[in-house]
């Protein structure tokens, strides 16, 4: 029985870790070039563009790591306690709230950083005023928000601790398989 606990826990931790790594690294790589290209071609704009693109990547990475660690902390607590009912409900609510707050904080950190780089003369100075350019500039923000939301949902609905309900169809089916016994009497 202990082996099955280990198996289910390992599968969940590996799944969330893989997703966290993917969400931390892949989206910034996707938006990096378009974002850099959105800036004007002059040296000053390109330097700011490069700086903004690089640092938002780090903020994105940090945000995802923090969210993953926070969910891992809840995962470990849940595994340690193995409880249910009111206590679990309270902890799950807290986990949801903290995920939301971290998502907001991560996006806010990016916005804050953007104003730190240049709070007044950005659009129109380093970046064309076109809607497409503005949307491209916002890419790190909504990518961060989307990645954090995906990780949050995955940690809580697809790969929660073994005392919590799996609510996504495919992970549920996989988990049910892991809990199916061979007939031995």
């Amino acid at each position: 029985m202990k082996a099955n606990v280990g198996k289910r826990v390992t599968a969940r931790v590996i799944a969330t870790l893989c997703l966290a790594v993917a969400l931390a690294l892949i989206p910034p790589m996707i938006y990096h070039n378009p974002l850099y290209a959105a800036f004007y071609l002059d040296d000053a704009a390109k330097e700011i563009g490069s700086q903004f693109s690089d640092n938002t990547r780090w903020i994105h990475l940090g945000g995802i790591v923090v969210i993953w660690l926070m969910n891992l902390l809840f995962f470990i607590t849940n595994e340690k306690k193995g409880d249910y009912g009111r206590e679990l409900e309270r902890r799950t609510r807290l986990q949801g709230l903290l995920n939301f707050l971290l998502l907001v904080v991560s996006v806010a950190a990016m916005i804050g950083y953007r104003f730190m780089v240049n709070g007044e003369v950005w659009i129109g100075t380093y970046l064309p005023n076109a809607q497409m350019s503005i949307l491209t500039l916002y890419a790190p923000y909504y990518t961060m928000a989307l990645s954090a939301a995906i990780l949050w949902a995955f940690c809580m609905r697809a790969a929660p601790a073994t005392n919590c309900a799996v609510r996504c169809y495919l992970p549920k089916k996989i988990d049910e398989r892991m809990k199916r016994a061979e007939r031995t009497r």
């Binding site: 029985m1 099955n4 306690k81 009912g85 009111r86 206590e87 073994t162 309900a165």
Partner: protein, 528 residues
Amino acid sequence: MKKFVLVAIGGTGMRVAQSLVALAASGFLSDLCEPDYRLEIRLVDLDIVPGSDKIELEEMIRCVNEAMPSLSIIVDRETAHSRWKAKGIDRMKTLIPPIDDRSTLSDLICEGNLDDSEKMAFHALFAEDDRTLVLRRGCKGRPRIGSMLWAEHFDQDWRNKGGFWQSIFDDIGTEDELRVMFAGSVFGGTGASGTPTLAQKFIRACRLGETGNTASFANHVALTLMLPYFDVGQDTDVDSGLFAINSKMALKYYETSELLSEVEFAQFVGDDRRQMEKKDEQGKWGRVRLDRGSRVDEGQNDPSMPAELMAAIGICRYFAGDIPTVNNVRQKVYVPLKWTNTNPEMDVAPEDPFVLKSFDYFPVNNGGVDAGAVRTVQDYILRLERFCLMLGCYYRTSAALDTKWNYRPEVFRTVWRKQNDLLETYESRNDGVGSALAFAESMFRWLEELDHHGMHDLLLIEGDTRFNMPHIQEAVSRAAELGSTNLDVMGIPCAQITAQMNSARVDPQGATKYFVSSLMECCVLRAQ
């Protein structure tokens, strides 16, 4: 194949049998001997009214046997060799005495048909009290009544193919090993009269071999004789003041009779004379009281006591072929002692109860190089308690909680489909764990009585208002109501049990059986 038969005689014999049933269910007997054996219990008692020890034993056996399909699934191959090997009772048979609800000794003797001299002798040997005692409620500490009945009944039944005695040999060949243990008291009525009479008659009849090749079966017959270990109130028709003198006379009889030389082994088990108390329907403990004026349909139902557990351990050891030795010499007559003391300062005064503070007081092997795989009875008793608490209290309370399906214990989602009234399903015998629950309740009653009669330091069941300590069931239920796992279940953290249960592997075809067997697996204490 091996076959073990316990012939339980009288109320004390019934309660010793209850302890044997509990030990077998805990896997103790299976761990002592090879798993391929049959276990039978034969009941000999007059006290057959509802609420008696015999009815309680029959109920206990029924609960164990009905739960067996749920208790015997191997849920983990890695630990299969050291799993909880619960054993049910393969067969139970009752010796039915030729009495009805109102039979008295006078009726049986047909006093009206006796001539004057016979009548005078009958009156000289049996006082008015004895002659008019309603036999259906037992011999009530008067062996003179029982001894008349058993000898005659044995002779009548022995040659009956499907009868009480011949059916012992039903499914065994001459190559198979049959071990028969007779258990009863030396101080009571039914047991004190039936145990020596029936054991001796059985051995001699086997040796004669009139009904087949039974001579070899006479080699493995043993006795468990209970010395006084309880008191009952003054206002009863059992005079417990006579227990000591009755026992003294009985021991004198055993000393001089040939019976002890004919049996393979005899154990004499006694204890402090504890006041017996039984829990009533309101959950309050009250002294066992048997008024002379009590109704005929009101049975003698006494609580289980530590001495009976000690006796049952000895019976298991005998069945496993582990006869106690001293200096490598097998003991024909053995008195298991809780404690031997050479330091007079540590003596316990006779009027002070000896508190059981360690499971080591129950010897389960010869010690030293002769000690087998089973070193103590501790985990066997405690695993039963853990199981009863988790199944009967913890998970039952959590099934009763009005909570969202997603916040129920994960194991419930594994075993049952989403539903509103989970408690009803949980308690159901078809879709739930009803039979295992009945087994748990029956076992917990036994444990609680042991706890109340001297084993509290080991079982920790009863609460203590002085220290604001609730009854263990209440404490477990309280934790379950909160969904908390922050409690210790007799040495195993509840969180560890629930964590393993949440990952229990089940076969959807028999999910509830897997639930019960997985819980059993979690209740076994293993080296971490």
